[in-house]
């Protein structure tokens, strides 16, 4: 598969969304709603539950599976209140020293009048700032599209993993082709230039692990659950000051 094939695959209909990951990996999930300021943004879902017996806070950007769900979840494009909800849940997790698990799948944060009026920039900036200093272990997994700042807002983690055919990029290949070459037909070329595939990203140090998708079978979810649980058990043994310093170093290297 070339980069553009992977871009298409990352957006493919029928690809499991965050809700499916939560259902398969997190036991006893209790959803917690709202940012306590303005609204409950359905593009970002979050709550508490157990991964292999370990209490975690889980936050996911949800695209929705069918048409109605896509509309309900705004196609996975979050408004500021979504990022503020995520920050609220992360701070609650920090208080109880619970690890934070994020599933990232978005073409980008929503751009529109309401999003700008309510401070999309400030909301994402604050999410990055808070997450990158959070005093509890954090793990982000890119499961489809990792679109720019909207994805980074939930990816300032101790480690970032990505599934085989997911992408992570500063801009969509369409946006890049149209801005740089004034030609949206050059999307395939832009996809290659942006180095947005899992294999490119591991080479650049932007992700730590590539997760084998195994056609998103039961085995895939079971394997991923095991990896997540092992990761958090290991990180829970690390003194929190060191954890935060190691996270600083992780991003400092870029």
């Amino acid at each position: 598969m070339n980069a553009y094939d992977i871009v298409l695959k990352s957006r493919e209909k029928g690809r499991p969304t965050a809700g499916k990951y939560i259902a398969n990996i997190v036991d006893g999930f209790i959803e917690l709603h709202g940012d306590r300021r303005f609204a409950d943004d359905r593009a970002i879902i979050g709550g508490v539950g157990y991964v292999d017996g370990l209490p975690v806070t889980v936050i996911g950007i949800e695209k929705g599976e069918d048409t109605n769900a896509k509309i309900e979840h705004n196609f996975g494009c979050a408004h500021p209140e979504g990022y503020r909800k995520a920050v609220r849940l992360m701070k609650e997790a920090e208080k109880f020293r619970r690890p934070v698990l994020c599933f990232v799948d978005t073409s980008g944060a929503y751009c529109g009048i309401g999003a700008e009026e309510r401070g999309q920039s400030e909301a994402i900036a604050d999410a990055i700032l808070k997450m990158i200093r959070l005093q509890t272990p954090t793990l982000s997994i890119i499961i489809g599209e990792g679109g720019s700042g909207g994805a980074l807002g939930l990816s300032a983690a101790d480690e970032v993993w990505i599934t085989e055919t997911a992408t992570y990029s500063v801009i969509s290949p369409e946006g890049c082709a149209s801005i740089l070459w004034k030609d949206s037909a050059k999307v395939a070329e832009a996809s290659a230039c942006l180095k947005l595939t899992a294999q490119d990203l591991i080479g650049l140090g932007a992700v730590e692990r590539v997760i084998c998708e195994q056609d998103f079978s039961e085995q895939f979810f079971a394997d991923l659950k095991g990896q997540i649980a092992a990761f958090f058990r290991e990180k829970k043994g690390v003194p929190v000051e060191r954890l935060v310093e190691e996270r600083y170093a992780r991003f400092r290297k870029f």
Binding site: A109, C111, G112, I113, A115, E116, E117, R118, G119, Q120, S121, E122, I124, A125, D126, I128, L129, I132, R133, S148, G149, L152, G153, S155, A156, Y168, S169, V170, I171, G175, C176, I179, L180, K182, C193, L194, K195, L196, D200, L201, L204, A206, R247, Y248, F251, R252, F254
Partner: protein, 297 residues
């Protein structure tokens, strides 16, 4: 000399400063014309009202059009000269190359370096403002509209780290269209890297003042621009996450007048104060002074 003649000499290709900077092909220098012995920059055209203004008059007026009051963009060093004293540059030699081998990026960097005399889009250093010492950074519109790639992110991060070591406040003059797409994921990571440094600086109890100037959008607005203790903005500056054209394309409607301008952001609660350009040095000096820690006094 008549204005019409001046126009002929100097304004062959007027263009909006926001348009076509990131994406325009490298500018071709027009061939030198025999009449070009008139000193360059004798006069210039206001990008807002289109009237011809003597350059000296424009400079004396801090880059504010004497006819219509429009704020011309200031380059990084002009901004520092306007607001600070005793500037001493840090990391002046830092530069990075085409990390992803992105097509055409080497040539673009080379031509901008030649044209601007700067290695990239930010100038960092230490200075005093109204006698108060600070670390400062100033972003440059001439370098791909201040877009943030590795060099910009690295220098700003190093500046915050230096400020932590020296217990200095940071004053940042922000101007950026966002992340630099030619550096792909590396440019996105600069948002996280700079944010982490801002957080550390803040945890050390130190002050950070951001001055948002026209434009402050994209990845820079969604990172260190909006992470300051005090956020000032210049009158009329475009400030937002998505650019207005992208929003209009997404929602398929025209945006209201004044949308995403500094005044709009203050009204919505995201900017502490809008400061006139001439008042900026005094306002910064007063803020630095009131935030001075007791041991510093």
């Amino acid at each position: 000399m008549k204005l019409e003649d001046l126009k002929k000499f100097f304004f062959k290709k007027p263009k909006n400063a926001l348009e076509g900077t990131e994406d325009a092909p490298p500018e071709q220098q027009p061939p030198a014309e025999p009449e070009a012995s008139i000193p360059e920059k004798l006069a210039e055209k206001c990008e807002k009202c289109g009237q011809i203004v003597l350059s000296d008059e424009m400079a004396e007026n801090f880059g504010i059009c004497p006819k219509c009051g429009h704020y011309k963009k200031l380059d990084a060093r002009a901004r520092i000269a306007l607001c600070a004293e005793n500037f001493c540059e840090l990391f002046a030699q830092d530069r990075s190359e085409n990390i992803l081998d992105f097509p055409g990026y080497d040539e673009k960097l080379a031509s901008l370096r030649e044209k601007t005399g700067e290695p990239d889009g930010v100038v960092c250093g230490t200075a005093t403002i109204g006698g108060s010492p600070c670390a400062l950074f100033s972003m440059d519109y001439r370098f791909m509209m201040g877009s943030m790639g590795h060099t910009v992110g690295e220098k700003i991060t190093k500046l915050f780290e230096y400020a932590i070591e020296q217990s200095l406040p940071v004053v940042g003059f922000v101007l950026s269209g966002g992340a630099r797409m030619q550096e792909g994921i590396v440019s996105l990571m600069q948002m996280a890297k700079t944010s982490a440094a801002v957080a550390k600086h803040s945890e050390a109890g130190l002050l950070y003042i951001a001055v948002l100037t026209d434009p402050t959008t994209g990845g820079v607005s969604a990172s260190f621009a909006f992470e300051a203790d005090i956020i000032l903005a210049e009158k009329g500056a475009l400030i937002g996450f998505a650019g207005p054209r992208v929003i209009e394309q997404t929602i398929r409607q025209k945006l209201p007048e004044g949308f995403q301008r500094a005044e709009f952001l203050q009204q919505k609660g995201f900017v502490d104060a809008i400061v006139e350009r001439k008042e900026m040095p005094g306002k910064l000096a007063a803020l630095l002074k009131i935030h001075a820690r007791e041991a510093d006094e």
